[in-house]
């Protein structure tokens, strides 16, 4: 078997025009199922490749940058699998949501035009042009989504700094357009804001890469470790990488782009971004800092740990007081990224494994929850938490899945969240004891307190959205259609399965992390 990974990365890119064309000609169904098919196939390829341990592909590239390699090892495969699973599932969820959103935009546009032109058109023309408009737009949407998936997977599998950077930037562009085309409120402004921040992050990252690459004489990961680079330069490069990836992960202080973006972005993009894109930042920490610059990592580990705790607490506290449900989950995502950062800073094999597991777990949980948000926006038409209530009786499947999603975030067994959190906290405590570090002890304790905050804001959200009295204006709410509930149930089942049998991922993650930092 050859070219498994090459296919998995480039098929979505190459076939994205087809998705557009299908959407334009045959409508949303064709585009949805075509995109679903491609991504499902590619997910299968990645999974297949990961079954036999480390899997590599190498292709010649330019002289300056080194080779174009794709590696799926114990670190990359959980990331790769989850990112593609999420992308695949989001394709289905996108259909009802985006059709409704595009239709709404069309009506808005028509309304605006009518006011300018005056009522002259017949209803028939309007309905046929609405169909064309939706088909065209949904085609563009799926083409962009495929490109985004490709960008995310590419950065995970890359074996070369420049390769990483290229893919890293590629995934921003579809995001920018999605917000600008189908966002809410000040969508253009926010799209620019999003692009500006993540781009600045990426450029800082690039500076770090260039420092390393020029000094090592190669951009290949494999070559870099063998070259002695002056410590001062390396430290600079490490700082650049930490800041660049920190922006991507929306850690505290540089998180400020995220709430705006999440509020304005269409919900499927929220799901993709929170479930997959932020994870690329986390992956970067493992691959570029811990694996590539272990010496620097040792210096910065404590800082990352504390930064993580700060982000956990700050995001959680902000989430407590949000009313817009999308912003609520934006802060919740920030807080969860804090967890991952906390684990990354734990400097122990178990802690790092837990951090990676937390990415898996958070992706599953948060995508379920964003689907819930989508379902609510579709069915209820409001985003304000105070205007909801008692929806569990009307949307039982959504409510049940959302509850599982919440338990995953909080880390209650038997969800995957618990497997992630106990290993992570356990690892953090081990390091604290070994180093005899009081600061690490305190950070461990604060981390545990942050889990209580997570629980408080999550359960409070569930209470305000799904429980209590049903407001009169929600009497006629119906359960979301199965494009939404189906994927939700699959993911909910998945998180429980991982929670009971974590070996599915731990078997790959833990040996890798042990190799990385010793036992």
């Amino acid at each position: 078997m050859q070219y498994l990974l090459l296919q998995a990365i480039f098929l979505p890119l190459l076939l994205s025009p087809v998705a557009y064309y299908l959407g334009k000609k045959s409508g949303p169904n064709a585009a949805t199922w075509f995109s679903f098919g491609i991504l499902a196939y590619c997910t299968a390829l990645v999974t297949l490749a990961s079954l036999s341990g480390t899997y590599e592909e190498h292709y010649p590239w330019t002289q300056q940058f080194g080779e174009f390699g794709l590696v799926l090892d114990g670190l990359a495969s959980p990331f790769a699998i989850i990112i593609y699973v999420i992308s695949t599932v989001v394709v289905l969820f996108s259909k009802p949501y985006m059709v409704a959103k595009i239709t709404a935009q069309y009506e808005e546009k028509m309304h605006a035009q009518k006011q300018v032109v005056g009522d002259g058109q017949t209803a028939m023309v309007e309905s046929s042009s609405l169909k064309n408009y939706v088909n065209n737009q949904i085609g563009i949407y799926y083409a962009l989504l495929l490109v985004m998936a490709m960008g995310m997977l590419g950065s995970i599998l890359a074996t070369n700094l420049i390769e990483f950077y290229v893919f890293f930037e590629v995934m921003l562009i579809p995001g920018f357009f999605m917000i600008a085309f189908w966002g809410y409120e000040a969508k253009r402004r926010v799209a620019l804001l999003f692009f500006f921040w993540t781009h600045v992050g990426a450029v800082i990252l690039l500076l770090g890469f260039l420092t390393i690459g020029f000094n090592a004489g190669s951009f290949n990961y494999a070559d870099i470790q063998e070259h002695g680079i002056p410590h001062r330069l390396l430290a600079l490069a490490a700082v650049a990488i930490i800041v660049g990836l920190g922006v991507k992960m929306a850690a505290f202080v540089v998180h400020i782009w995220l709430p705006h973006t999440y509020r304005a972005a269409p919900t499927p993009l929220n799901a993709l971004s929170s479930g997959a894109m932020l994870g690329v930042g986390a992956y970067g920490f493992f691959r570029l800092l811990i694996a590539l610059l272990p010496g620097e990592y040792a210096h910065f580990a404590l800082f990352l740990n504390l930064w993580g705790v700060g982000t956990m607490l700050y995001g959680g506290i902000m989430a407590l007081v949000q009313d817009d449900i999308k912003k609520f989950f934006a802060y919740s995502s920030i807080s969860q990224m804090g967890y991952i950062l906390f684990g990354i800073g734990s400097a122990s094999a178990l802690g790092l494994s837990g951090a990676e597991m937390l990415f898996v777990s958070h992706s599953l949980g948060k995508v379920i929850l964003f689907m819930m948000v989508g379902a609510i926006i579709l069915q209820v038409g409001t985003r304000s938490i105070t205007k909801m209530g008692g929806l569990a009786g009307k949307m039982p499947i959504t409510a049940t899945c959302a509850m599982i999603g919440v338990l995953t975030l909080v880390g209650v067994p038997p969800t995957s969240g618990f497997m992630a959190e106990w290993t992570m906290f356990n690892g953090a405590l081990q390091t604290a004891i070994q180093e005899g570090s009081i600061i690490r002890m305190i950070s461990f304790g604060l981390g545990l307190i942050a889990t209580v905050i997570t629980m408080a804001y999550s359960l409070w959200m569930i209470k305000r959205v799904f429980l209590g009295k049903l407001p009169v204006h929600l009497e006629n709410t119906k359960e979301a259609n199965w494009y939404v509930t189906g994927p939700m149930m699959v993911l909910a089942g998945f998180t429980v399965v991982i929670g009971i049998d974590p070996d599915i991922f731990f078997n790959q993650i833990i040996p890798f992390m042990k190799g990385l930092v010793g036992v």
Binding site: L193, F196, V200, V253, V254, H255, I256, W257, H260, I317, M318, L320, V321, Q322, L350, G390, A392, G393, L407, V412, P413, P414, F418, M419, W422, F425, N426, L429, Q430, I433, F444, G445, L448, I449, T451, V452, M455, A456, L459, W460, K463, F466, L467, G468, K469, L470, P502, D503, F506, N507, I509, I510, P511
Partner: protein, 692 residues
């Protein structure tokens, strides 16, 4: 199917079945609910029955001091195994849980009849006992924690079962405030409070677990007991006692001990069978079980020269304070389930006190047996009381005792059973199990020889007086006197108040009868338990009991019958019962004095009454400190920090870029001459750079 390939040992399958079956039942229930609306109840009962029968097969283990230990691979990458450990302790506990839950399940099929969410109800009930059995039978901390959070989750779902927050499902008096905060909780609020408050205990427990794991490298109870090197290492770093106390923190949360006791009251918003399950068989007993699991492990460290006195002191004091604190509040409640809830917390306090004092005395097994005996008798009478109270609520349609009254003739069976179980709670002398278990606790405390034995003993006795008083009061208000206005109103409307259906009264009848039955055989039962635990503790942990100094020792009071009863403890029990009962009788059965007038007669009584009714202001203070205050601060942080200061970070690049664009824009003049000048200047600069 061949289970042995997975590591299941054939002889251990019945043990696995005990906790797996309820979960299987839970998963089957949604499927069968599609077929028939009524089926969930029967399916749940069937699975509970098979699980209980499997549990019964473990009784010989307890009697012969044997154990079954079986492990299967779990998280193989770090070498963790899942396993079951059925030793005498677990064997006894699992039977209590299984049989009492079975009765509660049967009762539920009557109580919940006609509810449209039967599927959800029985799903969570099954999940609840599955999780509890998982706690009991786990052989390691991590797996135990699955059950631990499972009962938390189930309690959250069941306490908030009536999630529509109708007025009748609330707890408290509408509009009543304490320190400016409502003392009136809706089911969903109560569920959330229960889950979050116990989670606070859970994170402490996690921290304790991890501390031990960091040194021992294992979560297994047997491994920890076998090699105590970890304990030596930990105690040399002064981490052992903190770790043990953190573990106990989990028990504080789950068992609603001070200072995490406030969730238990609001948990009364759940359907009554849920309250019965939480209070008698699962949830709050989980904490006691954890202490029973860990107590000997830590006590046995004395052999390695490590003193765990501080740990046991904390347990004892937490237990004593809780017992006292909650009993005081139990005396002033008007809602029947709240009286019972306070009494549970208080009784659990007794158990903790006994288990704690065990570790402080030379005779570990005495306190240990006493605590566990109390657990058993409490499980029986409290389940019975709750189910009987459920019948009352069901029939009268109000949670307030003041809406009942004079029900003695209308519901004779419930009346009799409530007396029987109530006498158990009051510890009525010689005929109830509650008497012997409480007496054993008094004796254990009194004989412990600890510095603090006397104050704790006195607190325990005063608590016993209050217990008898509030139980008598409850029975008096509900069954004696005149019918309340509410009852008269019901009857006027043509509603006939009648005895509950047999499917409901038989379960609590059985338990009430058992309370008396075990009571009559009390001493023999206690001695048997004592023997079982003596054998278990010595063979598993090497804790030897000193022959001759046993609590059931040498007094010759009342001839041979009471041989082995500590006279002082006996006198204390008897007088506590007598005082409490007489006081209760005067106020509520004989009605010689009007309690309301009595309280209002004097500012001191009034103040004390109000203080108790306001829950010692603890709930309000906790709410202010951990909910209202922080939320207020969080809003401020959002408004003034996140939305102003941090937002500035967005504005800086935006403003700079917009400003920069404006400056650059001004160069776009459209005048070719100026462009040419700049072009020329550019060439000049390049030339200079190249040649100079």
């Amino acid at each position: 199917m061949d289970f042995s390939s997975l590591g299941f040992s054939a002889s251990a399958l019945n043990v696995w079945a005990i906790w797996i079956l309820p979960f299987v039942g839970a998963l089957v229930i949604p499927a069968v609910a599609k077929v028939s609306k009524k089926s969930p109840g029967y399916v749940a009962v069937a699975f509970a029955l098979v699980s209980a029968i499997s549990a019964a097969t473990l009784i010989p283990l307890a009697l012969h001091n044997q154990e079954i230990h079986n492990q299967i691979p779990w998280i193989s990458s770090i070498g963790l195994k899942a396993g079951i450990l059925a030793d005498p302790l677990a064997a006894i506990m699992t039977n209590i849980v299984a049989w009492i839950s079975l009765l509660i399940f049967i009762y539920s099929t009557g109580y919940m009849k006609g509810d449209k969410d039967l599927m959800r109800f029985f799903f969570w009930m099954s999940f609840f006992i599955g999780s509890m059995q998982l706690i009991v039978l786990s052989d390691n901390f991590l797996q135990l924690f699955f059950g631990w959070e499972g009962v938390g989750l189930a309690s959250y779902a069941l306490v908030g079962f009536w999630y529509r927050d109708k007025k009748k499902d609330h707890v408290g008096i509408e509009g009543r405030t304490v320190l400016g905060l409502l003392d009136y909780y809706s089911p969903t609020q109560a569920g959330m409070k229960a889950f979050i408050m116990t989670k606070v205990g859970d994170i402490m427990m996690l921290a304790g677990m991890f501390l031990i794991f960091a040194f021992a490298g294992t979560f297994g109870f047997k491994e920890l007991a076998a090699n105590t090197g970890w304990a030596t290492a930990m105690s040399s770093q002064n981490l052992l006692i903190p770790a043990a106390i953190l573990l106990f923190g989990g028990a504080i949360g789950k068992s609603a001990q001070f200072p995490l006791n406030e969730w238990l009251l609001e948990a009364m918003t759940g359907p009554t069978p849920v309250s019965a399950l939480i209070h008698a068989a699962t949830m709050v007993k989980a904490g006691v079980f954890l202490v029973a699991r860990l107590g000997p492990l830590f006590f046995a460290l004395a052999a390695a020269g490590i003193s765990m006195d501080q740990f046991f002191e904390v347990i004892t004091w937490v237990g004593a304070i809780t017992a006292f604190l909650l009993a005081t509040q139990g005396m002033v409640q008007t809602e029947i389930k709240k009286v019972l809830a306070y009494s549970t917390g208080s009784q659990i306090g007794y158990m903790m006190m006994a288990l704690g004092i065990a570790g402080l005395s030379r005779q570990f097994v005495d306190g240990y047996t006493a605590g566990f005996f109390q657990l058993i008798s409490h499980a029986m009478f409290k389940a019975s009381l709750f189910m009987a109270a459920g019948s009352l609520l069901h029939v009268v349609g109000s949670r307030f005792m003041t809406d009942m009254g004079g029900l003695r003739r209308l519901m004779p069976k419930t009346y009799v059973f409530m007396w029987a179980a109530g006498l158990g709670l009051m510890a009525a002398p010689f005929i109830t199990s509650g008497f012997w278990s409480k007496d054993a606790i008094f004796a254990a405390v009194y004989q412990s020889g600890n510095t603090w034995a006397m104050p704790i003993f006195i607190m325990a006795v005063i608590t016993a007086v209050m217990t008898t008083f509030y139980t008598t009061r409850m029975i008096g208000i509900v069954f004696f006197g005149n019918k309340s206005k509410h009852v008269e109103h019901l009857e006027k409307e043509g509603y006939h108040i009648h005895e509950a259906s047999p499917v409901m009264w038989i379960p609590y009848g059985i338990l009430a009868a058992l309370t008396i039955g075990v009571g009559v055989l009390g001493l023999a039962f206690e001695r048997k338990l004592h023997n079982i635990f003596t054998a278990y503790l010595s063979s598993t942990f090497g804790i030897q009991s000193q022959v001759g100094a046993v609590a059931t020792g040498s007094s010759q009071l009342l001839g041979g019958f009471l041989e082995g009863v500590n006279p002082i403890a006996l006198v204390a029990s008897l007088s506590a019962f007598a005082i409490g009962f007489v006081l209760g009788y005067i106020f509520y059965i004989g009605k010689f004095v009007d309690p309301a007038k009595f309280v209002n007669s004097n500012i001191v009584f009034y103040a004390i009454h109000k203080f108790f009714l306001n829950r010692w202001y603890l709930d309000a203070l906790i709410n202010w400190t951990f909910v209202v205050g922080p939320l207020y601060l969080a809003r401020g942080a959002y408004r003034y920090f996140e939305d102003r200061v941090m937002e500035g970070l967005n504005l800086i690049p935006e403003k700079t870029m917009a400003g920069g664009a404006r400056i650059l824009q001004s160069t776009q003049t459209g005048i070719s001459q100026s462009y040419l000048y700049v072009f020329g200047a550019g060439i000049l600069i390049v030339v200079l750079l190249l040649f100079v």
